[in-house]
Every structure is written in C-alpha cells, then in structure tokens.
Assembly symmetry: C2
C-alpha cells in the first residue's frame, strides 16, 4: 500500500511545522495509511520528560524521536515528526539510520516570525528574556540539502501541502492513486 | 497475517526475560512477522538515558517503553518488551493503553536466582552493596493475573517457548498455521 518512512519536519518555532504536519497526517489517515504523528505534546509527555534545552539534551530528544521513527518506519509505518531539531549533525545521524528519510525544511525569516509572534515568545527572546531560544539565543543549523524547502513566509499552506503530497508520490512512498 | 500487540515480560533480574523473549522474537522473525524486541541495551541507549532507579525513574522508563509498544501495536506491529517493570500499577496503566496486552510473568524464587547469580549481582545486593536492587533492596510487585506465569526455576526454556507460542495462537494473535 505505502512504504514505511520518516517525514521529518525541521524549522524554527512558529515556522509552521505543526500546522503542515497535521494536515499531512490527516490526509494520510483519510487515505488509510498506517501513520503516527510525533509532535510536541505527546513527545514531551511520553519520551522527553526531564530533558532541557542544552545541546546535549536537545540532541537526546531528537535522537530519541529518531529511534521511535526508525522502529515505526522499518515496520512499514509512516512516522511524521515535527520537532525543531536544530542541529544538522544530529538530523543527519537520524537520517543515516532510517532507510527512507524525507526532510522538510520549514524556512521562514526570523523577522517574519518575530512580527507574527503568535505565542509572544520572539519578543521575549529578542529582549534577552529566554536564554535558549532557537534562532535567537540558541543556534539553528538549516538543512543544506533537504528533500523539500517550504518558504512559509510566502507560500500558502494548501500549496505546501500539495507539494509534500506530490513529493511522497514522486519518491514512490505512497501510491499515485492517493 | 498477525495482530499488533504487546508481549510484555516482567520478572526479576536473571529470571529469564531476555532469553525467552529473544527466542520468541527470533521465531516471529522467521515466521515473517513485523516485530520489535525492546530489550535492555537498546532501550537504555535510545529511550532511557539519564534515568536512575528511583520509583519515579523506573516508572518513567516503563511508561516510555509502553508508549513505544503502544505506537507499534496499534499499527499492526508486535512489540516484545523485557524490562523488569517492577510496579503493578505502572504495568496496569500500560496495559490499559494498549489494546492487546499479553503479560508473561517470569517467576523464580530469589533463593534460586541468588544461587545461579550469573552476573554476581545478587551476592552484592544481599550483602547490602547495591541500594536499589529489585527483589532485594527494592520492591517487586508480581502480577496478580498475568496471561501466563512461567516458573523459570523448574521449567525448561523450550517448554516455556512452546507455551508462549501456543498462547499467542489461542488468543488469535498469530495464525494457527505458524
């Protein structure tokens, strides 16, 4: 029916990872796929409790999500992840362990994110009030060669969704009839 | 082909969880099942790094393994776990979250384990040198109503393997033809 693979969203807070990943998840569920979305709350509660924001802890978190995605993917399940996953090396380690790995880079300039600032976090971070805020007071290393780059400052979400969907078909990961 | 379920081994250190779970795992792999064995080393490296032996940390570990088993089982994969999982309430919480949950209680008296003492740990624990050693200096709450109890002090491993295998068939979890 479909392959097992990891659909790995990466990008800054507010860049649209959750929104887009949820749309793809719903669409896959409707199509009858075996799919899991490993997003913020569930991961924090069940996998990452006790971890903080140091490089080591962030890496542990990402590698742990990667481990679970690997178990799912190698058993024919689609694992969608939507963690910031700021470090390139760690993402690449996860990639190397998972047979089919599709990295979606949610690219949005800090200036746009700070202007939207849905959760009011960028204002605080830019004022120096949040010590480990990715993209402001903590590094974000963008993917060099992601399977897809989404410019979420300009692209409509429905268009991004279609591009991801088409990519999965083009790569033979989901049936063309979907 | 087969159902998704959790095959949950529980019992003291040295009671035979790893040995029996590995035999069942191999047999399922040979039969062509989608199956994962979540045993010691892999779990410690990938899921439980940083956790200790307090009740809270042990519970976190068991619930985390349970979460991964749940993700696998609900996608049609067989998840075999072989952690001590000493607390009844925690095992029961995991059970309640997973549709198909088969608990195998590896039952072996401390006296026998201390005599075998493959890793030399019981001697140390009984001498008071290991502060949180399950069954000696830390509690183990046996299952009240497990799907299967294995007396690993007297039963041959090949017999135990057959009993587990038959149980999975009896419950309709794997095909009768296996």
């Amino acid at each position: 029916m479909h392959k097992g693979f990891a659909l790995w969203f990466t990008g800054l807070s507010g860049s649209g990872k959750s929104t887009l990943s949820e749309r793809i998840h719903k669409r896959l569920v409707r199509a009858g796929a075996r799919v899991e979305l490993l997003d913020g709350d569930e991961v924090r509660t069940h996998l990452s409790k006790g971890l903080g924001f140091s490089k080591e802890d962030r890496d542990t978190n990402v590698r742990r999500i990667g481990f679970v995605a690997e178990l799912l993917a190698r058993n024919g399940v689609i694992a969608i992840t939507a963690a910031i996953s700021p470090y390139k090396e760690t993402r690449d380690i996860v990639r190397s362990r998972i047979g089919e790995f599709v990295e979606i880079f949610m690219d949005c300039p800090i200036s746009v994110l700070a202007e939207r600032d849905v959760k009011g976090l960028y204002k605080k971070a830019l004022a120096g009030e949040i010590p480990h805020f990715t993209g402001v007071s903590d590094p974000y290393e963008p993917p060099v060669n992601p399977e897809l780059r989404v410019d979420s400052s300009s692209e409509k979400i429905a268009v991004s969704e279609e591009r991801v969907w088409q990519l999965l078909k083009d790569r033979g990961l989901i049936p063309l009839s979907w």
